[in-house]
């Protein structure tokens, strides 16, 4: 009697959310699948047709797609650095030090204010001619006489990177083809975005999660290890790190999901995907295809490929993570 009554009440309470969910999530997901097998052009410059899987075939032959996938992966190289930094900061912060709230506030500030304003700030800092960063680098190069030193050793000149204007990168990836050439080795736009990303993320949500994780470690475990004469590194390796494994697992999974669909805002605000497409990620590519070239069908197909990649990689993470968690 009561149960039937509650089902009716539950439906009433769920109704607003269910309608919203149906109209803006469930419906669109199915609709997006349908769009992805069409050649839909938003301004109808081509006649609408169902083209089955032709978008996906075209995508496999789309060199830009592969180049931008590599860009996306490259920008994710900052993730492990940021995670390690967050862990390190959390461990240092979790010691009973004065002013922890002040430090936490300062470290969290970039995460909290991140968005267009911070990106415009970094764009100004990275400006090779007028930016503060290169002004500082050049000042150091001059005052240390580094240029003369390198020339005396028989090298070429040392100059500050041109950051957002440069296609160079730490791996030496070429611009037009998928290969590595020595001339491309250096610091460029992608590295600038990675550095900014680490600066934003290092004291952010991941650090807060690690702080909570560290404070949940039973002190008996640490005391027992200390009685056995374990040093600080041994305690970290054998107590802290395994105890934090679930936290690390969660952070890694979420970072992969975020990284794979990331890079849109940076590209739109700071670089417009350039120079020469080197900061175009998959999500920015989808945006340009859909809302600048109006190829809605192709863009929807791209978004499903991205979704599949996220799904597969998350599943792999689960498999690996669970093995890791039970050792």
């Amino acid at each position: 009697m009561r149960r039937r009554h509650e089902l009716r009440a539950a439906l009433g309470f769920l109704l607003p959310n269910l309608i919203g969910f149906g109209v803006f999530t469930a419906g669109p997901v199915l609709f997006s699948l349908a769009i992805s097998i069409s050649n839909w052009h938003l301004h109808r410059t081509v006649a609408f047709q169902w083209i089955a899987l032709r978008n996906f075939v075209e995508l496999l032959h789309d060199r830009d797609f592969w180049l931008y996938s590599i860009n996306t992966a490259y920008l994710m190289l900052g993730i492990p650095v940021a995670i390690a930094g967050s862990l390190f900061l959390a461990i240092v912060l979790s010691q009973r030090l004065r002013g922890i709230v002040v430090y936490r506030t300062l470290f969290y500030l970039p995460t909290f204010t991140s968005g267009v304003a911070l990106m415009l700030l970094w764009k100004a800092l990275y400006n090779p001619e007028f930016g503060a960063l290169n002004a500082a680098i050049n000042w150091w190069l001059d005052s240390l006489h580094l240029n003369e030193l390198v020339q005396a050793l028989g090298g070429g000149g040392v100059s500050a990177p041109t950051w957002l204007l440069s296609t160079k990168n730490m791996l030496g990836l070429d611009v037009e083809q998928i290969r590595i050439i020595p001339g491309q080795w250096g610091l460029g736009a992608r590295d600038a975005l990675i550095i900014m990303g680490i600066w934003i993320a290092i004291g952010g949500n991941n650090m807060l999660l690690y702080l909570a994780g560290v404070s949940n470690i039973p002190p008996e475990l640490v005391e027992a290890a200390q009685l056995d004469g374990a040093g600080r590194w041994a305690i970290f390796r054998n107590v802290t790190w395994p105890q934090l494994a679930p936290t690390t697992f969660f952070i890694v999974v979420m970072s992969f999901i975020g990284g794979l669909q990331g890079g849109f805002e940076q590209a739109r605000v700071m670089t417009l995907g350039g120079p020469a497409g080197t900061t175009t990620t998959i999500s920015y590519y989808i945006y340009t295809k859909a809302f600048e070239e109006f190829q809605i069908g192709y863009a929807a197909a791209l978004s499903w490929v991205l979704f599949s990649a996220i799904f597969v990689i998350t599943m792999i993470n689960w498999r690996l993570g669970h093995k890791e968690l039970h050792y």
């Binding site: 009561r2 149960r3 089902l7 009440a9 539950a10 309470f13 769920l14 607003p16 959310n17 919203g20 969910f21 999530t25 669109p28 997901v29 609709f31 997006s32 769009i35 461990i91 912060l93 979790s94 010691q95 030090l97 506030t105 300062l106 969290y108 500030l109 970039p110 204010t113 968005g115 267009v116 304003a117 415009l120 700030l121 970094w122 764009k123 100004a124 800092l125 503060a132 002004a135 600066w199 004291g203 807060l208 999660l209 909570a212 404070s215 002190p219 200390q226 600080r232 305690i235 802290t240 969660f250 999901i257 669909q261 739109r268 945006y287 859909a290 809302f291 929807a300 499903w304 996220i310």
Partner: protein, 290 residues
Amino acid sequence: MRRAHPGTEEKRPGDFSAWWYRRGRFTASHVLLVLMAVTMLVPFMWMVLASFKSLQEVEQLNPIPSVWRFENYLNVFEQVSFARYYFNSIFIAAWVTFLQCLTSAMAAYAFARLQWRGRDTVFRLYLATLMIPGVVLMIPNYTLMVKLHLLDSYLGLIVPASFSAFGTFLLRQFMLTIPSALDEAAAIDGASPWQIFWDVIMPLSRAGLVTLGIFTFLGNYGSFFWPLILIKSEHLRTLPIGMLYFDTVYGRQTNLIMAASVMNIIPLVILFVAAQKHIVRGVQLGAVKG
């Protein structure tokens, strides 16, 4: 409240070298933290100082402006309708926050406090939708807005953002912790489910609602992708979109861009200082689903 990190309490009481070791480590940690804090702060300080400089001075290394040009800030308001952007961002974020808290709390109540068959299956389905990347939904939702004639309108910005599986999840976790004796007692007194929801559960979920409200407000205040594709008219631009076009048109005036950025960030800094406790807890709570 927070326990010390393992390894901080050395078990060598009375030993002078141990004291010295601890003291050294204490200092080392502080030096490290101060260095980190400075690295975090320097870009912000540069931004604030640059916003008061003349254009020529922005490009020079001297940190302090020789003349403090407060008129830079007035210039921003003269060149673009910055006040309008402020209003739009706050107006939209406030509506979305209100609606999302309401719809999420109602759904969370059904999932956490009412008994019905299939409840947990439906809830798991709900959670699974969190995996769908936003970019998959953007394209069909945009075409939907075209069909509904909601392009370039407040409604188009507010309504699609007013429903959240994450908010439902967050509030459900909160409501699960409220003792069930409370609604049973209210039911015996003849209260309807809506009365129980509104008079018993909602007041007790206040901490959860505040947390969700802050994150929703933040997310929508800084929202970029959706307004970017939806808004065409100048008077509907939100802060992020207004800043983007301001940079496109006046990008060489770094001092003005920085003044606009400072104004964009100030409400966030105030919000963070005021609600730090809720924010930290919210981040840590949101991860429990892992």
